[in-house]
């Protein structure tokens, strides 16, 4: 969402390709939370993107995902 970013053109190209080929775009509420530290929710193109909430159902899967993506972190 910043056209001065060096990768903006690539990102926009992918974005356009996905929408023009009926590929569903999704964003998690966690990513939105990170974005909203500096940005604003109303600046996101939510007319084009489906939202994935974070509920207890997702929370309980955290351990297996953590092991998969970040094996260096020691889990209690």
């Amino acid at each position: 969402m910043n056209d001065e970013d060096p990768l903006h053109k690539n990102a926009k190209g992918y974005y356009r390709y996905f929408l023009e080929n009926d590929i569903i775009l999704k964003v998690s509420t966690i990513t939105i939370a990170e974005y909203c530290v500096l940005g604003k929710l109303e600046d996101l193109p939510l007319r084009d993107i489906q939202i994935i909430p974070f509920n207890l159902e997702h929370a309980k899967k955290q351990e297996s995902l953590q092991k998969l993506f970040s094996p260096k972190i020691r889990l209690q």
Partner: protein, 259 residues
């Protein structure tokens, strides 16, 4: 083996001072039980289910249902598991609800329900005023949910709701309250929307109780590449990201651990 089997649900109890018989058994209880049995036998895909035939006989009141042997075998297995576990928590929601309805009637009217299939001679499950065939409530938790689809219906005389046709969940009904629908100035029908809703979700299976959905927010959702829409948002959003290296910023935000 026959292709058709049957289920017998025997109801024992009193109507006033008299023992229960088909002559003093209210049709309201029959109607409810017919619905419950359909949910027990065919919780999903009712459109393509096999025929279920019905008969009522004396002694006290015996409901006899005939349907395909395949469904009877499945139902007998469910009865066995419910009896063995003394629990209905493992069942799909519609099947569990049907057991709960029978349990509630048992308590309200002091009836005993004895259930058997044609596969066995003995009764396979008894539901009595003392049994507790209810789901454990705490395994259903509140969740915030998002659904995307086409809005196909809005209104309702007593319960105001919208119907959303989704690819993931089929057609779902979401309570909206009358005020929400009254305030809508534009036609909602046959347009794509996202629905942010509250509802109950099973913590073990992830199943969503689609009867529990309540609208929080209706979201415009009509995905198509629209340069004007996107550029307008980018021109507003970029001001907040001036001079920021997103990779460094994100790493710092997440605590800097290696991924």
């Amino acid at each position: 083996m026959d292709k058709i089997g049957n289920i017998e649900i025997k109801v024992i109890g009193k109507s006033g001072i008299n023992d229960l018989t088909p002559d003093n058994y209210d049709i309201k209880h029959i109607a409810n039980l017919l619905q419950d049995v359909e949910d027990l036998l065919y919780p999903n895909n009712k459109k393509n289910r096999s025929l279920i035939a019905y008969d009522i006989k004396e002694g006290s009141v015996r409901h006899i249902f005939k349907t395909s042997m395949q469904a009877i075998i499945g139902f007998s297995a469910i009865l066995g598991q419910v009896q063995a576990n003394n629990s209905i928590d493992f069942l799909d929601i519609k099947t569990a609800l049907a057991f709960e309805n029978i349990q509630t009637l048992s308590i309200q009217k002091d009836y005993t329900f004895e259930i058997k299939t044609s596969l066995k001679d003995d009764y396979e499950l008894s539901i009595t005023p003392q049994s507790k065939f209810y789901r454990t409530e705490n395994i259903w938790v509140d969740a915030e949910l998002y659904f995307y689809g086409v809005l196909t219906n809005a209104g309702g005389k007593n319960k105001a709701n919208i119907h959303l046709d989704t690819s993931d969940y089929g057609s779902i009904i979401i309570d909206t309250g009358k005020d929400f629908l009254e305030e809508q100035e534009q036609n909602l029908l046959y347009r794509k929307y996202g629905v942010r809703a509250s509802g109950k979700q099973n913590i073990e299976t992830g199943e969503i109780d689609t009867r529990s959905l309540k609208l929080i927010q209706l979201i415009d959702y009509d995905p198509k590449f629209d340069s004007d829409y996107l550029n307008d948002l980018i021109s507003r959003a970029k001001k907040n990201w001036k001079g920021i290296n997103p990779d460094e910023w994100l790493l710092n935000l997440r605590g800097g651990y290696e991924v």
